[in-house]
Amino acid sequence: MPASSRPPCTIRIQSEPFDIPAETARLTAGRTDIGGIVTFAGLCRDEGGRLKALELEHYPGMAEEEIARVAESALARWPLMGLTAIHRHGLIKPGEDIVLVIAASAHRRAAFEAADFMMDYLKTRAPFWKREHLLDGSTGGWVEAKAEDDAAAARW
């Protein structure tokens, strides 16, 4: 692939689970110039057994657009050969995947940094909100944003 062409970039918002090997294959198929692939999968935790599920509300019009803007920043900043970001919404059970970022590059440093950057920015800019559903059947509160996430995003 000539260096000047645009690397494949996939952004999706969906309720169904995603297939990490299939998403990885989409980035690597037929290519022999990729040297490193960093994959981040964010999973729903049960918070010590307290949680039955997380409910993820999102802003349907904006979520995809905002993640695409974050991805554009990453593509402009690192020499990537492929970038994928998928974020689920709806009810997600402990152990299930919530979010996926895959960054491919010739060298590992760019792939690590781009994936890390994508997650920091997804956390603080993508319009998603988590609400807890508790094991006792009640609906818990909205998860509060963490100052450490803002601090992480401010690193870039």
């Binding site: 964010g42 802003y59 956390k123 603080t124 909100w129």
Partner: protein, 84 residues
């Protein structure tokens, strides 16, 4: 007319997910709009009581509180994001 949309606990407190309103003249910035929301009744006063924490998007783009709202067709109000 302007479409206002609400998410997460802002939506719950306001009691609706969206509405279409005629904004009163004189609202220039996002901050003006947030101050106006507080005057629209008990549920709005509750939803917007700590207006400094409310995030606003103008036509699906994040906007700071000092941004001008002129021209926006869809304005969204929501708490800090907790996705990822």
């Amino acid at each position: 007319m302007t479409k206002l949309v609400y998410f997460a606990w802002v939506r719950e407190r306001v009691g609706k997910s969206d509405e279409t309103v005629a904004l009163p003249p004189g609202l220039v910035t996002v901050a003006d709009l947030l101050a106006w929301q507080q005057t629209r009744g008990e549920e709005y006063a509750y939803a917007f009581e700590q207006s400094s924490v409310i995030r606003v998007a103008l036509d699906r783009k994040h906007a700071p509180h000092d941004a001008p709202i002129a021209g926006a067709g869809e304005i969204a109000f929501f708490p800090p994001m907790t996705g990822g």
